[in-house]
Every structure is written in C-alpha cells, then in structure tokens.
Symmetry: C2
Subunit: 762 residues, 2 copies
C-alpha cells in the first residue's frame, strides 16, 4: 500500500483547477477534465490540438469496432470489440499574423483550466503572445448537454489585449481520429457536407457497421469545405482591443441505430432543434440539472477542529469528483449502455464494462437514482441473447454474462478470465436481488429479472460439478474475484454466490408460479423451463460446498491454506504492479491475493455472516492482499469500519476519493477509474455511515473518522430521501420526503420520520 | 479407444506399397512416403506437382523462421519460430504434344508407389496417356543420401510405349515454396544461377537470417534460366518406342552456418563432389548403410499358427516402418538437431521437438545406436544458454528447457504449457541419468551432463514451493504430463521427477568433487555454484511431498480425487478429439486424464515401485485416461504387460505400430507421428520382452502375445549385441559380441554369453 499522491490540481470544494500548464501532466489533465453526458464523452484535450502530448478522445457510448484475434480453441473468442474515438467536434485552428496557435509550442501564459462540477462545464483560459508581439486572451468553454444528450457546445472567447485586427479561424468536424492503441482510424466511407455556417458528416465504422451523424452550426462566417472525413469552415474574426468576442459552436452527435438517409435527415432535424436554443439557455438548464442531481447525491465533509483543513478539503473535492464522474458516465438515460471501467475517458480497457457494474457501481445508483439502477440491469436484460450464446460457446445452457463487453458479447481475449470467472453472471443475479430488495420493484422482477435469473441459474446448474469424494456440489476449474489464483476448485466466493443465486432463482420462480401464474407460464414457455429445473437448483444450492472451518475461517478455495506463504510487505515497491514485474505464472502460486474474494462475499452478503466470521476472515485475508485492483481498498475500508478498526478503515479510505485527482496509480493518463470511484461513494456511505442494504431493514452504524467534524449525505429509498448528518456527538437522521421508515441504527430498531432523530454516539 | 484403421497401403514385410492413386488419400500418402536423412526431409509429393491435393514440403533440419506473436505478460514469449519449407529440389515439368503432365488431371494408369525400407528409396510409376493417344511409362525414383547428408537424388525413367518422339522437360530448383499454415514464403533475397547442366541457388530466411545453398547437376541438356527464386533447365528428350530413357538429377542442399560467398563456394565444391559419384554408386552405398542399420535395430515377428497371418504381417510392416522413420529422422549425425514431433514430414507442430525426445525416443537410440542417444543429449547441452535465458524469463535461476523448440528457445505460445510444464527439464535430467546408467559413459557426465544437471537442479530449487500447512516441498501452479489439468499443486509426477533430479544432481556433484576435484572446481567456477546449493537440493529432495496413500494409490495432484468423475466410455466417439469438440475450459475440470501422468512416473522409474503400487495405480488411472496423446497407449501397454494383463497389453499395442500407416488418428495427412512411433519400438521391447533399464541390471521379462509365434530383436548394450528370440516355448538370449553380461530374466539372475541361453516359458 505504498501509493503516493501526485498532487497537481488546486483544492476547491466544487471545482477542479489547474493553474499553469505542465506538459508532463498533459494526459493526466486530459483524463481528469473529461466531460460526459452518458451518451458521449470527451477527454479534456485542447480544442486547437497542437504538439503537446495528447490522447485526443471523443467517444460515443455504445460505438465500437471489432477486430479478429485469431482462432485458438473452442469457447475462446476469435474477435474482440472496443470503443473507438468518434467525431471530433472540437476541431479548431487559430492563426494570427501567420502564426498558428499550438499550446505545446506557442508562448501561452496565465494558463488556467477549471472543471465546474455544479455546471458540468470545462473552461480553459490563457493569454497567447504571438511572435509579432500581439497578446490575445483566449477562453475555451465546453459542455455536453445533460438533458439533450446529442448536443455538445463549444464557446471560444477572444479578447485582443494590445491590438485590433483580424484573426484566422478554422472550425470543423472530423471522423479522422485515430485509435492510438491500434494505430488506425476505424471510420469508413464518410458523407461530408458544409453549407453556410453548417457542417455535416455521416460515417460508418469499418467492421461493426455503426452509423453516426455529426453536425455543427457555428457563429463563424467563412468558406465551407467538406472533404474526406472532415467538414470545415474557414473564416476570419475582426477583434477590437479590449472587446471580448464570442464564437459559439453548437454540435449534434447522433447515434440512433438509423442508417443512411434516415439518419442524415434525423441529423439535420436535430441540428435545427439545436440551433433554436441559445448556448446560454442551454447552460442555464444544465446548471439546473446538476443542482437537482447534487441535491440527492452530494456528500459534505467538514474537517474536525484539530485536523488539517486542507486534507479534508481535498477529500471533499475528491468525493464530489467521484459523484460527478459517475453521474456524467451513467444516469440511466439509456439501457443500451453500461459503465465502462474507464467510462468514456480513454482507450484503456477498451471502454469495456466489467462485473464492477453490479458489484461496485449499483449501490451508488440504488441510493441516489434508482431508475438508473434499473436501467443498468435492463442493459443485462437486453444483452441476454448474447449471454445465452456465450453459454453455448462454453458447452453450457442458460446465460453466461461476459467479463468484459460493450455490446453484450464477450470481448475478453484472455480465456482464463473469460471462461473461468463466473462472477459476472452471479453479480447480475446479485444486482437483480439487491435492486428488488431495495426498491421493491416486483414488476421489474416479473418482466425482466426472473428471466435473467432463470437463465443464469440454468447456466450455473450446468457448470457446477460434484466432488467425487465429498459428494458436495461446487464449481471446479474457476477463477474467483481474486485474479491471482486460477483454475481452482470450490472457490468459496463462487460457490456461495452460486448457491445464493440458485436458491433465489428457485424462490422467485416458485413465488411467480403461486402469485402470477400467467406470467410464470409465459416465462416457462419462453424459456422451455423443465418442471424439475427449479428443484434441481434448490438441490444444488442445498448441497453446495462452502468451506467454513469450525472457527469461521473460510478457505478461499480447495488447497489455498497450503499454498506457499508470501510476505507481501517484503515485496519491493518497485515490483508493483506485479503483472509488469513478475513472470506471469509466478503470480499464481502463493497465498498472496490481488483483491477481496472471501471478503467480497462477506461484503455483498454482509447480513448473512456473524461478526466473528467477518473478523477472523478479515484478519486472515487482509494481510495477504496487495490491492492490485483499485476497488480493493474500499472493500477493506468498509469491513474495517464495521469491525471497529477505524485506523485501518481510514488508511484504506486514504486514496479512494482522490485516486485519479492525485494519480495514485500513475495511470490516470489512460483515463479515469470510473467504476472504482463508485466505491469511494460506497466507502463513505457503507463504511463510515455503516449503511447495510442486504438485511431485512436498512441499517446504519455511524462511525465518523476522527479527522472529520461532520459528514452529511442523503440516500434515496423507496420514495423517501433520508438526510443523514454525522457529527462527533452523534448522528441525525431525517426524512425529507415520504412515509416513516423503520430502520436499524447501531443495532437498535428505530423509525425515521420527517422529524430529526438524533442518535448520540455510544 | 474407438480408433479405427483406415487400411489403404498394401502389406509387405519391407515395403510400403500404394496401388492406384486415391486423391482423398493424397496427403496421407505424402506423409507416409516421406523420406529423410536427418539433415533434410521431403514429403512424398509428386515431382511434377500439379493440381492434386498436396502439401509440398521439403525441409531442412534446423532451418526455421520466426514471427512475432504480440507481447502479453512477462515470461510469455513474444515471438515464435517454426520449420519452413526450404529448397524444392524435385521441381519437374513434363510436356508431351502440348499437354503438361498433371497427375491430378491427366489420364494416368497403373499407378504404383513403393517405399523400400531396405534402401530408403521411393519409387513411383504409372503410364501417362495423353489426349493425343500416346502412352508413356514414367518412373520417378528419389532418395536422400544417408552417408553424405547434403545429397539428394532424383531419377526419372521415361519409356514411350506406343510412339517415338520428343518430350519437353523442365527441371529445376526453387526457394519459392510457401508455408501453407502462414500462407507465405519465408525466403528472401535469392542468388540464382544456371549454367550448362548446373543450377545453383542461395537464399536466406527472412527473419532468422539462415542461409542455404541448393545446387543440382542434371543429365538434361537444355536452356538454363535463373530468375527470382528459381533456377530452371528447359530441354527436350528424344524417346524411342520401347527404350527406357533415364534422367538423373544430383542435388546438394547445404546449410552449414556459412554465409554469402563462402557458402556459395562450398556449395559449388559440394556439387563437384556430388557429380563425381554416379547415382548407382550412391544407391549401393545407401543400401549398405541400411543393411547395417537393420542388423541392430530390426524387430522380426512371426504369426502364431492359429492367428491371422495378414494381421501379424501388418504388424511386422508397421514395426519396421517405425524403426525406418526414426532412423531417417535422427541418427546422431548432428547435435544441432533434435527430433521434431512430426520429424520433417509436415508443418504441423512447426517441426518442434517436445519432451518426447528424452521420455519416448531416447530408449530406442540407447539400445540401437547409443552414439545417437548421446548426440541427442548434446543438443540439450548446446542449447543450455537458451534454457538459462528461459529460466530468467520465468524469474528463476538455472535452466528451464523448452516445451517446444527447434533452436533451444521456447517456441510454445501457450503460456499454460510453456510456463507450467516442468517436465522438459526433468526429462533432460532423466535422459542424462538413463544414458549414463545404460552406457556407463561417465566422460559425458563430467563434460556435459553435470553442468546441465546443476542448472536444472538450480531451476527446480528456485521454482519449488513449501506447503504452508504441510511444511513439505512441492511444485505449485504446474501442469503435469496429463495436459487435462493445469495450474495444479503437488502434481505427483512433477514432484517425484523433481525429487529424483535434485537428488541425482547432488549425488553427481558430490561424486565429482570426490573423484574429479579439478573438473568439479572448474564446473563450480563456471556456474558460480554456491557451497550450500547441493545440500539445499538434497534437503528439498528429502522433504518433497509425494502423495502416496496407505494402499499405494498416488493422487495425481492435490484435490484430484475430489474432481467430478467423468465416465469416459460415455463420451460419444464423435466428440474426439476433445480439443476440437469441447469448450477449452471444460476439458480441465474432471478426473478424465489425457495421457499417463502417475503411470508415466511408474514407467520411467519402474524399478523404484513395487508391483502392488503399479497395479493399484494402473487399475485406478487406466479407466480415466482417454489417450489424446498418441504416446499414451504404448505406456499403458507396457505396464499392462508387466502386470500380466496381456489382453489389455495387446489391445493398447493394437494401433501403436500402424498409427500412421492406417491413419488411426485421421491426421496423418499433416505428417507422421515420429516421436510416437518411437514408443512402438518401446512397446515391443519394454512391453513384450519386458526390458527394464532403470534398475541395477538389465532385466527381461518376456511375455509373448498369443498371436505371435516368435519375436526377434537385438539390443546394443555396452559394446555387446544381445540377440533375443522369443517363442511360445520360451526365450533364447545370446550375445553376438562382447563379454558375458549379468542380467535378470523373469526375476532370476542370469548371465548372457555368446552361447544361447534358453529360458523356458514359466
């Protein structure tokens, strides 16, 4: 855990601020200053491009291309897909006295970049001093419309500081962006038109055949030109000294599933509609959207009198940055998308969504925006056909959800992950259970959840084995969440999650059969459910092997306890990450684990295990974990807090909120750890407020870290907004909306109402 | 074991005969009619090429090229190498009345092809009927010189049956052969010259930079032409009805490690030398070479009166074919080469040598040609630097020998094999021990063996782990010989081979230190041997975990006994081979095993285990083995014979000798199972004669199958030739050369002399 902050941005409660431009941090800044509106995302790259180090990335959620990766054995994918850079709508060139602005080379001073998390805007300003002695203040503002998701806005404000005269401006759109990793552009034949102050492009991805329309309408008057994959407008703007001059560009990026002329026409219509709204009006609406969002999702932290105010201010900023990025990346605007491990902030991980969605991100949405949680699960429903197909590839029935995907197909080319990790499927089942348990949305269960559960249970029932010696059921040849052990048998996590999934699926179907016989009959017919199947699932669930010792210590998998011990504190820091410094095979044969496995299960089904079991397993596994997954520390922090190990809880919390702001993993340049930062929210709400949502009632067990004076947040729960204010003296709970709610606080039954309930610290 | 013969060739004691040409068998025939002389090999393809299905393959031992395969994790290779087709020296085109001979399309009758195993010649004859009504008998004869390994001979005999007139002939050399698997030619810039009746080419491989000279001198008079990668001679031959006309082409293929002009000059000299010998003289020498070879390696089988003579004749032919192919592929002419799994008979397995060399092929050479056995081990010595490098890649010290290689570098791109299988290294150690044990060649041990053993032991000592619970040493995260289980712990085979290797290495060094202190000091200095290292090896060997139960049943690896059971007889035959029909991951999670693992260890260290242990393990593992390795049945047959299970022994022997002749695995088209056929020899000598070479003395335990009247073979042993004649009534032993030899026959001490010793059947 020798991760060290690389402090670069200024601390501010609502903003991320960069003062002065450091080329060495260019890509980190690009990642941190990423904007998104769920439908599309853009890295914080310079509108005007130039020679500074940059990963120019403008992405569209759900837009990808595919490449073959060679055929090997059956059940191993032979092609993969990945998010590709799409339309570059920022394209801008400025020329003054024959000099073209290039922040990487030009003399630019007073550089400042600001991300305003209350408005979702990115503002960059600096003064360009030309070789000819002219000084021009430039301010670039951009935002992606959170309401009309196809719209993007660019504003350039130019103020001549010591001259009057003309500046040359080129503004444009391009489908020519190159995927840096693969070194090529994945856009094919492009229709390009430029007319008056309008630019229009439509292109198609090479292999996946997805069509996208991009259009822009700009204030600039100039000569339109459309050629190849670009549409450009070239003009001049007359500047008068001291009079700021504004140039607005309204863009539309349309990815609808429509093709050809139909898409083109829809694009033109969308452009008309965008032109009818002024950028200022759009900005006002944008702020309102974020105001409403923050009202339910904000977490406020105050520093204790005796602790460092700046440290806590940094944590406050970090927590808001996490919530901001999550809301940008996903808020249920579409059920065609999921949450990429890096959102839409870079090429790393190919834009793929992992099992992190259901295991790590779902709680954030469940308690801040349940509709979005539902839509996330509907993505899995919509991709059930792909999961059925994948199970077939693996010689199984039912549905096997992918380890990594954009479109529902398995995209992970490492067979040892794609074929051996069953947790994506059990995580979907867990997510369904958790969602229904928290929201009470039984309609969802009937219409979508039951079918997914049935197919997942069917897959598990086919994949399970039976120990020849023990006669117990278990999963053989798997990799659990801890990816430092593979091809193991009876991984406790996998067995337990399988057991719960099978039992839940059987329960759900039994319930439906009883109370909704028609829906049940329809589902049984659709899925060709054999009469004995749910019974078989229950038999397997009952006979599932869970390796708990008499003292409650759970063996991670068969033989784990006999693995050679590695003292992880003796591994030199220079050898991390191990994947880069150790021979691949060497990682897999000691008791060192990458991320919580047994502990993950104790976190997910927290209410099902007594404290002593959590304690003995935490004490055993925590010192064996090296946290090469960024979600690992938060899980440990939450369990540490539950077990009263507050120092450890705070230590593990340490970098969770500022993982990317302080570039702890030194790879923020590649993009943000979007799903990991979801765990920062959980770290506070589950960890320090002790929220538990897997028992009969909501539970709280507040444990305020010493360094904080107060912590305030809200959770949305079944039509209520629960306001929580933790202070040193105790915790106040109040319902903002809705009926009284029975909960458990610090192990005692309580009822929350619109009146504040203050529970003094024990 | 539902393998079925595809009977196609005619049975003959010394020949392989094809009568009539069946296009569906074209590639199978090409494989079976492969010729080699250790330095080079050629498939039985038609000299004149044409449209018939063909894998035109002419190979040179040790000539390969390489391709990158993408970087993944540390310790996983990022490029691989593979045998490539080299100079095509058969190139011939015949034209008569404007019609070009193409056996795939032309009217060819009375087709017959014969491989003569006493001469190493391939003869093909047929009558070509042209559209113009002419009939021409053509006979193509080829052989690769077993004495002057750079020489190859082609003879074409043309007899006009119903006309006199001219026939157009093109003969040539080409470096233009395309590797079928990769779809490209791996030969680069080529120097080509044609002068008089001489053709000369020199080319270089694209990535590995190996240079090869190819030259030919021919009887044909014509117009020489050299262009690109070809050198051709185009002429005409006047035929007179009824008068056969012969065209001889003497070729030289030179691969010496020399470059440029030096190689060219050496090539010209070699061509001069070849021209000085008539093909008929060469053929006489060739026959003598084979006579001498057969004198020590032939196995003769007679059918019992009450058994099918044709079945036994087929076995006789099969056994000879095995010995013939082995001697062709390797006979110790060079220690730069090893034995490819498919010899030089096709592209499959990339020409790579596997651990089969030491585990399966070595005994054949040990007892028929010990010098060749030594040279095989010297290949490992010569590639020790690559093995040291490979160990480093795996974060280990010492030497790790490759799973698959041509040049000593690991070429297996499947990390799970390349990184987890330790048996290539322990097999080399076993081979050294076996060689020294059988031959008494302690010079070899001192000069080469000790250094290899030291480095292998060092590797094992670094790779071994120590069970946290048991405190015992063992190998964790490995794949044993049974490739249906991977990433297992305490694989019994690996642990036991490691234990024996470590103990043997320590013993050898201790012996050297005592008796050859100077050699020891030199070795210790060269290898920076720490004083405590051999002691550490002994500690590990003593503390190695060998999972033997009280009843002697050995668990293949930790947890094997609890794996779900698969009833292998219930798997439909249509699902074999499983790699092609089962999802890759599915293969790895049952108790089904691919090939002997525990039984392999009982075979290799046969004298170290009591019969009861062999019996209980045979009875347990045999029904769990599906033999997806072609060496599997022979091992089972040998152990079954030892345990008196003669019916099973004969059943497993069933297809061993005719694996390729009858295309049992339906993949002979890709090439011969060269290393597997080595096991056919062992199957007879170890199986039915009960030879054991791992105890104090040589042991025999003859068990003649009922269907045989007699079995005769010889083994070479420490300067002696032991002639063995097994008959129904008993077995006769006689030394042809050398001093009396104490042996054990049927558990009784005996002494072999020049007088026949007859041991009646008990």
């Amino acid at each position: 855990m020798a991760k060290i902050a690389d402090t670069y941005f200024r601390t501010d409660p609502w903003k991320i601020i960069e003062e002065g431009f450091d080329p060495a941090h260019a890509r980190v800044s690009e990642s941190v200053f990423s904007l998104a509106n769920e439908s599309m995302g853009i890295r914080g790259c310079f509108d005007e491009g130039g020679s500074a180090d940059s990963l120019r990335g403008a992405y569209i959620n759900g837009v990808y291309d595919a490449l073959p990766i060679g055929r090997s054995y059956r059940g191993i994918i032979d092609h993969t897909h990945f998010m590709i850079p799409a339309a570059d709508w920022l394209l801008t060139r400025l020329t003054l006295d024959g000099e073209t602005l290039d922040p990487g080379r030009s003399d630019c001073r007073e550089f400042r970049r600001e991300l305003d998390m209350r408005a979702g805007t990115l503002t960059r300003t600096f003064v360009w001093h030309t070789a000819s002695g002219k000084a021009l203040r430039l301010t670039f503002i951009r935002f992606l419309d959170m309401i009309r998701r196809e719209r993007a806005y660019q504003r350039i404000v130019m103020e001549a500081l010591n001259f009057s005269g003309e500046i040359g401006v080129v503004t444009g759109l391009s489908f020519g962006l190159v995927h840096e990793g693969y070194g090529r552009c994945f856009w094919g034949e492009t229709r390009a038109e430029a007319r008056g102050n309008r630019l229009m492009l439509q292109s198609v991805t090479l292999a996946s055949g997805q069509e996208v329309f991009a259009g822009a309408v700009t204030d600039l008057s100039g000569i339109p030109c459309a050629e190849g994959k670009e549409a450009l407008l070239t003009g001049t703007v007359l500047l008068r000294e001291g009079e700021p001059r504004r140039l607005d560009k309204r863009c539309v990026i349309l990815f609808t599933g429509r093709h050809g002329e139909a898409l083109w026409q829809a694009g033109l219509d969308a452009l008309d509609a965008a032109e009818a709204v002024s950028p200022d009006e759009a900005l006002v609406a944008q702020r309102s959207w974020w105001d409403a969002r923050w009202a339910t999702s904000d977490i406020r932290i105050e520093a204790a009198d005796d602790s460092s105010e700046s440290d806590v201010a940094a944590e406050q900023q970090g927590v808001r940055f996490c919530s901001f990025q999550l809301a940008q990346t996903y808020n249920g605007g579409s059920m065609r998308h999921n949450i990429g491990a890096k959102g839409m902030t870079g090429e790393a991980y190919n834009g793929h969504a992992f099992w992190d969605t259901e295991s790590c991100c779902l709680p954030f949405y469940l308690f801040t925006d349940p509709r979005a949680a539902r839509d996330l699960l509907l993505f899995r429903y919509n991709t059930l056909p792909q999961a059925l197909e994948r199970a077939k590839m693996l010689d199984c029935k039912g549905a096997c959800y992918p380890i990594a995907t954009l479109n529902g197909e398995e995209a992970c080319s490492l067979w040892q992950h794609a074929s051996l990790q069953l947790q994506p499927s059990t995580a979907v089942a867990y997510g369904i259970w958790h969602y229904v348990h928290v929201t009470g949305d039984t309609d969802f269960l009937r219409d979508y959840g039951a079918e997914m559960l049935l197919q997942i249970a069917r897959f598990l029932a086919g994949r399970v084995g039976r120990g020849a010696q023990t006669g117990k059921y278990g999963f053989f040849g798997v990799m659990g969440p801890d990816e430092f052990h593979m091809m193991v048998n009876n991984n406790a996590y996998t067995n337990y999650m399988g057991k719960r999934t099978l039992a839940y699926a059987a329960d759900v179907l039994a319930g439906m059969r009883e109370t909704q016989p028609e829906a049940f009959a329809a589902l049984a017919a659709k899925t060709a459910l054999a009469p004995g199947e749910p019974d078989e699932w229950r038999t397997i669930a009952d006979g599932m092997y869970i390796p708990v010792g008499g003292d409650g210590l759970i063996e991670q998998h068969d033989g784990y306890f006999n693995l050679p011990h590695t003292e992880i504190n003796e591994i030199p820091v220079s050898e991390f990450p191990l994947y880069d410094h150790w021979s691949y095979d060497r990682i897999y044969r000691t008791d060192m684990i990458k991320q919580p496995d047994v502990l993950m299960m104790l976190y997910l089904y927290n209410a099902s295990f007594p404290e002593e079991v959590k304690r003995i397993n935490y004490d055993f596994y925590q010192p064996r974990t090296i946290h090469e997954s960024s979600l690992s520390p938060a899980i440990h922090s939450i369990l540490a807090a539950e077990l009263g190990k507050m120092d450890e809880a705070v230590r593990f919390f340490g970098y969770a909120t500022r993982l990317d702001l302080d570039n702890y993993n030194r790879n923020t340049r590649e993009g943000l750890h979007t799903t990991s930062i979801a765990m920062a929210w959980a770290n506070i709400v589950y960890g320090f407020a002790g929220l538990r949502s897997d028992g009969e009632r909501l539970r709280f067990a507040p444990r305020l870290p010493e360094r904080w004076k107060s912590l305030r947040f809200s959770v949305v729960y079944r039509g209520r907004v629960i306001r929580v204010r933790m202070e040193r003296e105790g915790t106040a709970f109040r319902l903002e909306e809705g009926d009284p709610l029975p909960v458990v606080i610090a192990d005692r039954d309580r009822t929350l109402t619109r009146e504040e309930l203050f529970i003094p610290r024990p």
